[in-house]
Amino acid sequence: MNATQQHARFDRWLHDHAAILHHVVNGFAGGEERKDLMQEVLLALWKAIPAFRNDAQPSTFVYRVSHNAALTWTRTQRNYRARLERFQAEPAAETTAPPPGAGEQELLERLYGGIRDLPPLDRSLALLFLDGLTYAEMAAIHGLTESAVGVRLHRLKQSLADAMKGSAHGPR
């Protein structure tokens, strides 16, 4: 594959699978770190393109590469320090529920916050689950058994429900 073909495929995938990248980046990084992680994910995708064989679904490929990059991402010291400073400067996190009628944006922030609080592997599984992948697809991407995915997701759904408690729709 030459550089022009690599560029063309990169642009096409970026357009077609932007939501996958958006979800994984927000699920693994908050604030300014999102930009760093997005660059890391894009670099991983760029480097992986020559390895793509047309017998696989591009979306599965993008999931595998982007989640791999996010899971093994190393934060830059600069951003890590900035994050620590922000954390130390901030008052204790608010635990009260958002006001009724809180917007979707706020609910999404709350959901992403809940996802980011999970251990890395669970974070990835939660994102794949929300994106609607089957247990078999998740198991293949991660190298787990389907039953292991099922057990983990059972626990994860409860964690996500806890994160969304007190949302505009109320706990169920």
């Binding site: 970026l14 932007a18 979707e104 592997l121 626990r155």
Partner: protein
């Protein structure tokens, strides 16, 4: 919030990237890709020039020694050649590594778990490379007094060359400190992160009773 609400929220337009943001990310990436490549090429060119100048001088001296100057006698002055060969070996080593790194891409047939295992192997190799470079430096340090003694014995250098006994160890010491920093602050924490991630794959996923 029930699963249906969660699904609706997840698929809402608010959870989609904007076209403007996407374009900005793309442009930043392309610029960064070019900058990384250019930075490495400039660095390697500078190192190449720093090595090529003394090498060219030596070759010139071998081929066309000045009047009253003996050509280099390899049997008598092999320390100089060996000391010069080591940085070239290191330079070639890094160029080969970089080319391999650029040509490498993840095996998409493997799972993320296997990729993490491969990254852990890469980390082990990177730590091994640090030891190789450290060993080359130790070799240079050991050769230095020998090289100076040979040059003095052949009458090609006087006591002015003794300054290299201070300058070269200081430079090599600085490089060694850099290697130790890289090992302690980058490679070892990375190893621990990857090991923890790999361990999470093997952790018992059963919910606690």
């Amino acid at each position: 919030m029930d699963p249906a609400d969660l699904g609706r929220l997840w698929r809402s337009p608010h959870n989609q990237p904007s076209a403007a943001q996407l374009e900005e990310d793309r442009m930043t990436f392309i610029t960064d890709l070019r900058r990384r490549h250019r930075g490495f090429v400039v660095f390697m060119a500078l190192v190449f020039a720093a090595l090529a100048i003394p090498t060219a001088q030596l070759i010139y001296h071998l081929l066309a020694p000045g009047p009253g100057t003996d050509p280099v006698d390899v049997r008598r002055e092999w320390g100089v050649l060996a000391a010069l060969a080591m940085p070239w070996a290191a330079w070639a080593f890094f160029v080969i590594q970089y080319r391999r790194h650029r040509a490498a891409f993840p095996d998409v047939e493997t799972s993320i778990r296997e990729s993490v295992q491969a990254l852990l192997d890469d980390n082990r190799m990177a730590r091994g490379r640090n030891f190789v470079v450290g060993g080359l430096q130790a070799g240079c340090l050991l050769l230095l007094p020998l090289m100076i003694r040979q040059l003095k014995a052949s009458g090609k250098a006087g006591s002015e060359i003794d300054i290299t006994l201070i300058v070269v160890p200081v430079i090599l010491g600085a490089i060694l400190l850099g290697l130790i920093w890289n090992h302690q602050r980058t490679l070892l924490p990375r190893k621990r992160e990857l090991e923890a991630l790999l361990k999470s794959y093997d952790a018992d996923p059963r919910p606690s009773a």
